[in-house]
Symmetry: C2
């Protein structure tokens, strides 16, 4: 484990698609979504065990969630829990933490990940992360992790790889041809038939100098904002200054801001049972299911004549369900949702 | 209002068919089942306003529920809340309270009612009760209230009346030919086609001397038990003695014990929107329903694409239901039930 390795966990999402389990006060990264005794945020840190020292872990979130992060990840240094004053998508988030890290260690080698995804095969995950970190430690590359697609998923962006030449340093890593937006079903089916399209997992690996150089080139205004705060990172004035300047950043994803523009972008195609858990349907798929294809997550759930459902409770709830097929039943605090899985895109509407 | 009038409310039921709303700790008579701000027990007392003085109200229940009765009915004298040491059906219950009343007032004229039924037309109810009390005050009759059936209900017992001769004292009161058990559907349909079969509401009116004489004749052993305790009614020794002797009573309904055997049994056919609320289906029918035939009882229930459901929550729950047809959704404390209305006879099984 190199002491240059840093881990950045982005934990500012509000998880509106998982209402009522996930609420703006306590979004899904702070919840034991899988019912395994650890929250998604904790599972995220867990799967990076051995990748970097605890003092090199960073979490970027909002002020509203900082206490929850500190409570759930007690080993993360309190001053590594960065608080964005407003939501500006992933590019300003990554820029902010990158400048913070550069002040401490200009040789830092960084993995950036979301806080609310799941990975089933952690051993393979660690092998891939290790390979990517090793690769970026010796190059100016930005490595993305591309998930080998198993279905024509329309909910993910895709990475088109040039599989004709593997990288000399790591035969599993390839150059990226292009990033593709979430496709329609016909396009997703086409991607699936070919073998060079991969789901964009949003997991990136790069040295701090690489990402900062790329930001300087492709996002000069944003870079100027963070460059101008060099004197305050790690000081008592940091938060106040960030609160003033961060809102000036354009709201833009790192994909748009850098990945689609930069030259040295690579993809590491991999299969480690990844999901962004973006929908109840994906939670259903990622969870252990009974003989009737029901995913039950909660301490006391009993089903009768019930099929293809996901039943999720937090707290000590007792639930009896009879005669449902293809439904979400979700309870959290004092809110109950019963909804067809096929209608889950309407959950935002229901929660208003 | 005659000071001889007494009201007896039987409130010892455990309401197992309404799980999880109704639990052994807090059965349905103690719950605001209709969402109107009053429990079924309170509504029961409310509908007798003007029938008898507050000091003539009696509630027979178990020790476990006495505190809930006292809390919900603060105007009922504490020593009129009688505690059965065990459940012995309605005959011992009525015998016990009748002997208690006789000690205080041998001229008492009594209405007996369940605590967990509903009546929609309270004005008509009072008119009928007044007529029945007037009738029994002048006769040795036992008057039952017979509900004019509106459907071939198989969940109620029936009273067959002899409509050929109305009583001279009240032209709406007739002699009973027989009591009939809960019928099968074909029989219920036959009863409905005739006009002399009425639902047995379990509401009885009689003078205390009438019921005690009938019990002495038809239930001599039970009567001996209560006769033998004459010296303790209303004294500090009452509970201790009842706890010893009451369990010796046969468990038998007043219908079997007296009504089906006695001579002077009358029925007052009436229509005042009565239901025993014995099932979720009957609650659905008795409740106000929306344009999609849903009955929603709770502070914050929102339905989408949902029909023919009964949604019942207690406490400050928020519920969103999408895409259900013909279901019970019931939440109470930390328990949730989702079940087809057509399968509600399985609720006892679910609750175990």
């Amino acid at each position: 484990m190199s002491t240059n390795n840093h881990l950045v966990i982005m934990a500012g999402g509000i998880g509106s698609r998982f209402w009522p389990m996930s609420t703006p006060e306590r979004p899904k990264q702070f919840i034991d979504v899988l019912g395994c005794g650890r929250t998604l945020l904790q599972l995220t840190l867990d799967r990076f065990a051995g990748v970097c020292p605890a003092e090199n872990v960073w979490v970027v979130t909002s002020a509203a969630y900082a206490a929850q992060v500190a409570e759930q990840l007690p080993d993360v240094p309190r001053d590594h829990i960065l608080m964005e004053p407003c939501r500006r998508n992933t590019a300003p988030c990554i820029a902010y933490v990158s400048w913070c890290i550069k002040v401490l260690n200009p040789q830092a080698n960084i993995v950036v990940t979301a806080s609310d995804h799941v990975v089933m095969d952690v051993q393979e995950f660690r092998r891939v992360i290790g390979g990517a970190l090793s690769f970026t430690s010796e190059t100016d590359a930005i490595v993305t992790l591309g998930m080998k697609p198993t279905r024509p998923e329309t909910g993910y962006g895709y990475i088109q790889a040039d599989l004709s030449v593997a990288s000399a340093r790591n035969k599993e890593i390839y150059r990226v041809d292009s990033f593709r937006e979430k496709p329609d079903l016909a396009t997703a089916e086409k991607y699936l038939r070919r073998n060079n399209y991969f789901w964009n997992s949003g997991i990136f690996v790069f040295r701090v100098s690489t990402i900062i150089n790329a930001l300087r080139v492709y996002q000069p205004e944003m870079s100027a904002i963070f460059e101008g705060m060099q004197a305050v990172y790690g000081t008592a004035k940091e938060q106040e200054t960030i609160n003033e300047r961060f809102p000036l950043c354009e709201s833009i994803s790192i994909d748009y801001a850098v990945m689609e523009k930069a030259e040295e972008i690579f993809v590491f195609p991999a299969s480690f049972g990844w999901s962004d858990l973006g929908t109840w349907g994906s939670l259903h798929e990622q969870s252990q299911r009974d003989a009737n294809n029901n995913a039950c997550i909660g301490p006391d759930i009993r089903l009768f004549d019930t099929h293809n459902c996901v039943v999720h409770t937090t707290g000590e709830r007792k639930v009896v369900v009879q005669g449902l097929d293809g439904y979400i039943v979700a309870e959290h605090d004092d809110t109950l949702l019963i909804c067809r899985l096929s209608e889950e895109q309407r959950i935002k509407q229901f929660s208003e």
